[in-house]
Point group: C2
Chain length 196, copies 2
DNA sequence: GTCTATACGAAGATAGAC
DNA sequence: GTCTATCTTCGTATAGAC
C-alpha cells in the first residue's frame, strides 16, 4: 500500500507527528526532544530533517494541526443532530478521557505549544489560534442549531473551550476530575438557559 | 535595610524567584534556563546552588508559590466588601493586564509549570495545586459573602479560575482580548443570577 | 528515505577557592 | 555569598554516504 496522498506524507512522518502531539501533552514543547519523538514513534532518526526540513518548529506546527483536525472532527460528529448539552459533552468528554487514561499526566497539546510560544516561531501561535478557532466555530454551530442566537452561541463556544481547557489544567494539578465536573455542571446549566 | 526574615531569603534570591515567575509566563518551565534567570534578575551566577540546593525544581517551586501568594493577596483585597462581580473582575482583570502589557506574549506561570510537570518533580504539581486551590478558596469566600450558597460559590470559583485561565491562553493564541472579554461577560451574568 | 558521524551550543549540576 | 572552572548530558541541526 503506502499510497502517498498530497500533503499527507509517509507512515513514519505521520507517526512522528502523532507522537509529537502525544508527548507535548505530557512534557510540553520545550520538554520534548527529537530523542523522545523517535523513541515513541519508532521512526528512523535519519529521516527527521528529510520529513521536517523546518526542524522542530515544523514538527510542532504539524502536531498542532493534527490535534486540531482530530478533535474538531470529534466535536463535529457529536454536535450534529444533538442538543445543546452535546456541545459541552463533546468537548469536555474528550479531555476527561485524556486525563483519566493518562493518570492526570496529560493535557492539551495545543495549550502546551501556546504557553511556550515565543516570537521566534510565530507559526506556532498561528497554528494554535487556528485549532482553538475551529473548535469554537464548530461548537458555536452546534449551539445555533440547538436554538441559541449566533452572538450568544459564539460567546458560549468561547466559554466552553476556555473553561474546559482551564479545568483540564486544574485537574492535572489536583489529580482529580473535580474541576472538570464542576465546570461541566455549570456549563450545562448555562447552555440550557441559552437555548430556551 | 536588608532585614532577613526566616524563610524569606536574601535580595538576590528573591529577585531570582521573581524573575523565574516572570520568565515562565513567556517561555514556560523547560524553555527557561538558569542563564535567562541570571540575566533577567541580575543575580550572581555563582550563588544559584547556594540559594537553591534543590536546583531548578526548587526555584520553580518557589516561583509558583510566589505567584500564588501574590495573586491571592490581590484577589483577597478586591473581594473584601465587594459584590459578586468583584470576584470576576479581581481575577480576570489581573490577567488582562498581563496580556496587554506583554503584547499577548505572557500568561500564567502556574499554568506553564503545570502543563510541563512530570513524575520526576511531583513538588511542582503540588505547588500548582496549592496556588489554584487558594485562588478558588478566596474567590469562593467572596461569592459567599455576596450571597451565594457555599456549594454554588465553590463551583463558580472553579469556573472562574478555569475559564479565565483558559481564556488567557486563547488570548495569547489569537493575540487579542476577545476570548477573555467573552468569558467575563458570561461569568458576570452567571454570578449575578447565583447571588439572587 | 534512511544511515552515520559530527558540529556546536546550552542544559543542569558539582567542586573547591576566596 | 560569590567566584571560576569543569563535568556530563542533551539539545537542534548539518553533511555526505548509501
Amino acid at each position: 500500500m503506502n499510497v502517498i496522498i498530497a500533503g499527507m506524507g509517509t507512515d513514519s512522518r505521520e507517526r512522528m507527528v502523532r507522537s509529537a502531539a502525544y508527548l507535548f501533552r505530557e512534557r510540553g514543547y520545550s520538554g520534548t526532544g527529537f530523542r523522545d519523538v523517535i523513541a515513541h514513534s519508532g521512526a528512523p532518526r535519519g529521516s527527521i530533517y528529510h520529513h521536517f526540513p523546518g526542524g522542530k518548529v515544523q514538527l510542532a506546527e504539524d502536531a498542532v494541526r493534527y490535534a486540531g483536525d482530530f478533535l474538531d472532527a470529534g466535536i463535529r460528529a457529536a454536535v450534529e443532530g444533538g442538543d445543546a448539552a452535546s456541545a459541552v459533552d463533546a468537548f469536555a468528554g474528550w479531555w476527561r478521557g485524556v486525563l483519566v487514561k493518562s493518570g492526570f499526566r496529560a493535557g492539551c497539546p495545543v495549550v502546551a505549544v501556546t504557553v511556550e510560544s515565543h516570537d521566534d516561531a510565530p507559526q506556532l501561535v498561528k497554528a494554535s489560534a487556528d485549532a482553538f478557532g475551529r473548535w469554537q466555530d464548530t461548537l458555536a454551530t452546534g449551539l445555533e442549531n440547538a436554538g441559541a442566537s449566533p452572538e450568544r452561541a459564539a460567546r458560549l463556544a468561547t466559554l466552553i473551550v476556555s473553561s474546559v481547557e482551564g479545568a483540564t489544567i486544574l485537574c492535572r494539578a489536583e489529580r482529580c476530575l473535580r474541576p472538570l465536573d464542576a465546570v461541566v455542571a455549570e456549563l450545562k446549566e448555562i447552555t440550557r438557559t441559552a437555548v430556551d
